[in-house]
Amino acid sequence: MNVERVRQDFPILQRRVYGRPLVYLDNAATSQKPRAVIDCEARYYAESNANIHRGLHALSMEATDAYEAARERVRRFINAAAREEIVFVRGSTEGINLVAASLGQRLKPGDEILITEMEHHSNIVPWQLLCERSGANLRVAPIDDTGELIVEAFERLLGPRTRIVALTQLSNALGTINPAQRLIARAHAQGAAVLIDGAQAAPHLGVDVQALDCDFYVFSGHKIYGPTGIGVLYGKRALLDAMPPYQGGGDMIRQVTFAKTTYNDLPYKFEAGTPNIAGVIALGAAIDYVDAIGLPAIAQHEQALLDHATECAHKVPGLRLIGTAGAKASILSFVLEGVHAHDVGTILDQHGVAVRSGHHCAMPVMAHFGVPATVRASFAMYNTHDEVDALFSALRQVREVFPCPT
């Protein structure tokens, strides 16, 4: 992978911040977009904008074809068995909420939902809401002090009452990669349905939903170089078929009378209203872009950046890594002794280095490690070795303002 060539595809990387070159290390929050994606979205509005699945005119047919081609593109990307299993949603959050709202209607008091301690709030709160509605109980599998899931504890918490298991494939706050395949198999042995939050994993690890054998998988377009406001819910066809609709409206129905309404086939049953057509088509372009470079090459490049950053981090006095699991990807989370993460973030920003400082929508993870917030640098295919060095050089400037406590 030629990173300099890749960088030229991302117009925003040319810009400067406070007179310095932008060093964008906040990719876990959202990635930047290649020109192919930006142009694709603009071209759709300039040339083929029309509503889909309903017009007999040329533009509507063109838009419908492009929209459905993107669905097929996503299917191939995650190796789903059928295009009916790909539902477009606003993002990972909406995908999880859809499953919680729809599949969740089966839950009864005393049923259990199992999540992990490292989940993003979007994979905690929808289940808490479902527990409130249904009388089900939320169980939380703990992590250890490296930020790894304690698999034995996870297995002990699985039982005959477990109906749904929801877990991340790659932690956004720690960078931990979970042994998803093994955990899914254990959950299935207890008869539970499994949802995998792939918001972080999809851009970095590559996804094969059939190999994972997960029942549901969600990811967001904007973290994989695509637009905001578009995401994917994958669900096994038999499960989606049996689930009630999430939202009612146009496109999700077959026939409406005031006496009875029948629903459309998959995947349209779950796509009420005019969808984010431009977003879907541009997501297809983003996946084309990623596939042309190749996820194995991207992953290898990002791993080299993470290894270099981890090595640099070990040399910084008073730096404590939060998340030191054996299997990690793309995320370096840390705190600096005697300096709040927010102050680090402000000083790095003044040096053109964009990182995230905060709780990363994972307050339980912060509580586990006894910190209010961390600084998180997260890498993408266009980041360079020099940019990692720029991060650590800016961190030395933080120590100019806040010397290491003695």
């Binding site: 005697g338 709040h340 102050d343 402000t346 003044q350 905060g358 912060m366 303002v401």
Partner: protein
């Protein structure tokens, strides 16, 4: 370009590393909690009021340099102030940190250092957390003050 040395003036860094009036206040008559959910900053403010005068002010909690220094400087400034004077101080500091007045206008003494956040809009809430908590304490509010409500 915003100036980091304006934000992290010596008085701010000193008060953030060695905050004054940090800890419990057993004689307190008024308390309030402040919370910034965006960054996790939390502080509890204790005030001792007699005859409409703030006799002592202390705080506990954890936060960034700006919010800690702001709370430290505020508790120093409040000692001996009447309720009316405390309210006037709130108004002046609020105007200062939000940039409603130039950083060198108000006769605020050391508190003027908080004016450095004018150039850092993302950090204004850090500077105002302690002051909104002060208002809640004086009003006797029970619910924690959040930087993300109303305003």
């Amino acid at each position: 370009m915003p100036d980091l040395s304006e934000l992290y003036q010596e008085v701010i860094v000193d008060h953030s590393r060695r905050p004054h009036n940090f800890g419990a206040l057993p004689e307190a008559t008024h308390h309030a909690e402040g919370f910034n959910p965006l960054c996790g900053d939390r502080l509890t403010l204790h005030l001792q009021l007699t005859d409409g005068v703030i006799r002592a002010a202390r705080f506990e909690g954890s936060g960034c340099a700006i919010s800690t220094a702001s709370a430290s400087l505020m508790t120093e400034a409040l000692k001996g102030k009447t309720l009316g004077e405390a309210q006037a101080l709130f108004t002046q500091v609020h105007a200062l940190v939000t940039g409603a007045v130039p950083a060198d206008t108000p006769p605020l003494g050391k508190l003027r250092a908080l004016g450095g956040v004018q150039q850092f809009p993302a950090r204004v809430k850090c500077a105002t957390l302690a002051w909104h908590t002060l208002q809640a304490a004086l009003r006797g509010e029970q619910a924690p003050v959040s930087t993300e409500e109303g305003a």
